[in-house]
């Protein structure tokens, strides 16, 4: 049980490995010690260190290379999706410095130009299914080619992203049916109309329950804080 999360959702708080993404801690972007402190206040079990903008990545790498061993049992890093400037191969070279230090490196399919370039990340690489706004990586079929090119890669199953593509959750079920063997962790939140992450609502928690039951063996990362209900 994660005490900080219990008032909002005993069910989420009771999962064996839950943690926060630093992606929603916007006030402290780039200040990794401060972000870490906030993440620890949510959960000491898991964290996703989010370098969504490319300029944040070098400081995250430096932070992780210098850091004492972090308290978390699961650490993932979210690769940049915005302000991309450097060549893909250079980005992968930077990310590869983290491959032995973290449990997962999350990459968005729509940011990938040449899938083979990501092979050096091996089994540290996980691909995240995309939301309805994106042009690719949204469904099981759209993920097929990427996984074929990256056989060692895992799946980061973003539940609300899949629900945004198909509110009946058929797409979500298909992703788990076809790529569930690769599942390594879950992204959990609700989404607003613009597909921005928002605190998980009670209604969504109930709606997603059947999917989360299929994902009980992996860490769940909250992409928005859980609000007390």
């Amino acid at each position: 049980m994660i005490p900080a999360l219990a008032p909002a959702s005993p069910k989420v708080a009771g999962h064996h490995t839950v943690g926060a993404s630093t992606g929603y801690m916007r006030a402290d972007y780039g200040d990794w010690p401060a972000l870490l402190e906030q993440a620890v206040a949510t959960s000491t079990l898991a964290v996703e260190l989010s370098a969504l903008s490319e300029p944040e990545l070098p400081s995250l790498i430096a932070f992780l290379e210098d850091a004492e061993v972090l308290p978390f049992l699961f650490v993932s890093v979210h690769a940049p999706t915005k302000e991309r400037r450097i060549a893909e191969s250079d980005l992968v070279e930077l990310l590869a410095r983290l491959a032995g230090r973290v449990d997962a490196i999350v990459v968005h399919p729509d940011t990938i130009r040449d899938p083979r370039a990501y092979r050096p990340l091996g089994s540290a690489l996980v691909l995240e299914n995309m939301d309805a706004r994106k042009a690719t990586g949204r469904t099981a079929a759209e993920l097929d080619a990427l996984f074929a090119a990256l056989p060692a890669a895992g799946l980061c199953f973003d539940v609300p992203h899949a629900a945004s593509v198909d509110p009946t959750l058929g797409v979500a079920r298909e992703i788990l049916d076809h790529h569930g063997a690769r599942l390594r962790h879950v992204h959990l939140s609700s989404l607003d109309a613009g597909c921005h992450h928002r605190p998980l609502t009670a209604a969504d928690e109930e709606r997603f329950a059947e999917l989360l039951d299929r994902c009980r063996d992996v860490p769940w990362i909250l992409e928005a804080p859980l609000a007390d209900r």
Binding site: G100, R101, G180, A181, R214, C215, D217, V218, P219
Partner: protein, 350 residues
């Protein structure tokens, strides 16, 4: 939790459960192939020792990867002559001759047992049964008893092997056998064994440092603790916790059936029984990947070359750590996020 609940339906035998998980048999190709290869080598071994003159009321028993059905190219061979005759002394010439004969016969079958003298000789079954707890239940006795339950297979005299396993179980349940109550005596001993291994790991690190051991075994021991040892521990824990669904009169039979099957099948059966097939398949796939990794002698050489100082940054060890975490998370889900959760909380925590 109500033993008459969904998960309270009769628990099927663990036999073959791994092959019932989603994605089988392809997803567990290495584990299933290792079972076949273990069975083939065991059959050959049985022929080899068929003409050896072993004393009556003794059984030649194998432990470790032979007992788990997980033989890989470089597996050790941990064996023991289990004596089920209290009158037959360890120094009896028949026993001494038998041990020597077995040692010679098994010479080519794998690396001999390690240096702690737990295997590679003879021991009395009665000690396993009568000396549970207190000073006489030393580390060797505890290890032999636990591994007899958790990962052993008879080369000769399977009836004696089964009889000894049954007597050990009966001893644990002699004073404590109540319907729907996991037997605490056995539970505590399994937990004690796992904790002993984990504590001894640190003891071995300190000992190697003191003695300046040339060979650094830290990484391989660490990797096995994260994978094979952990799976074996939970494969012992689960049958005991599943006694929550079992009547007292059926408990010895239930445990005997569970412990007569392979560790991976025991764990797979629990996942299936508790309606967690998909996470169960991923969990055992992580174990499959570990066994596949270990089957490759180049990988094994890399792990053996790493030290406590160098392992953290090594990509192969990062993969091992990832597989270990996958195994950990799946087993935690099984123990805590199914109907078994309240039983785990109530019986394992305190």
């Amino acid at each position: 939790m109500d033993p008459g609940s969904t998960a309270g339906r009769p628990i099927a035998s663990p036999a073959g459960a791994l092959a019932e998980l989603p994605g089988a048999p392809g997803r567990f190709a290495t584990l299933l192939a290792a079972r076949t290869s273990t069975a083939t080598r065991l059959a050959a071994l049985r022929e080899k020792v068929a003409h050896a003159s072993l004393p009556d009321r003794t059984a030649l028993v194998l432990f470790g990867s032979w007992g788990r059905g997980e033989l890989t190219g470089d597996s050790d061979i941990d064996w023991a002559l289990v004596i089920d005759d209290p009158e037959l002394g360890l120094d009896d010439p028949r026993v001494v001759r038998a041990v020597e004969t077995v040692r010679m016969l098994l010479e080519d079958e794998g690396a001999p047992p390690g240096g702690q003298q737990m295997f590679g000789g003879a021991f009395h079954a009665w000690r396993l049964v009568e000396h549970i707890g207190l000073a006489q239940d030393d580390s060797a006795n505890l290890t032999r008893r636990m591994l007899l339950l958790l990962e052993s297979v008879a080369v000769t005299a399977p009836d004696i092997h089964e009889h000894v396993r049954r007597r050990v179980l009966e001893r644990y349940l002699l004073r404590q056998s109540r319907s729907h109550r996991p037997p605490r005596f056995l539970l505590n001993d399994i937990i004690r064994y796992w904790r002993t291994i984990a504590v001894d790991f640190e003891g071995k690190v300190a000992q190697d440092t003191r003695e300046g051991a040339g060979e650094d075994k830290f990484v391989m021991r660490n990797a096995k603790l994260r994978t094979s040892r952990k799976l074996l521990y939970v494969s012992g824990l689960l049958p005991v916790l599943l006694c929550h669904y079992v009547r007292a009169s059926d408990m010895v039979d239930f445990l005997d059936e569970q412990f007569s099957e392979l560790a991976t099948d025991r764990v797979a059966r629990a996942f299936l029984h508790l309606d967690l097939a998909e996470p169960g398949a991923r969990t055992l796939a992580a174990y499959e990947a570990w066994i596949a990794l270990l089957s490759d002698s180049a990988n094994r050489a890399v792990l053996e070359s790493l030290t406590e100082q160098t392992h953290d940054a090594d990509p192969l060890f990062a993969t091992v750590r990832r597989l270990g975490n996958g195994l950990d998370n799946g087993l935690l889900a099984l123990l805590h996020e199914t109907e078994l959760g309240p039983v785990t909380r109530r019986y394992v925590t305190i």
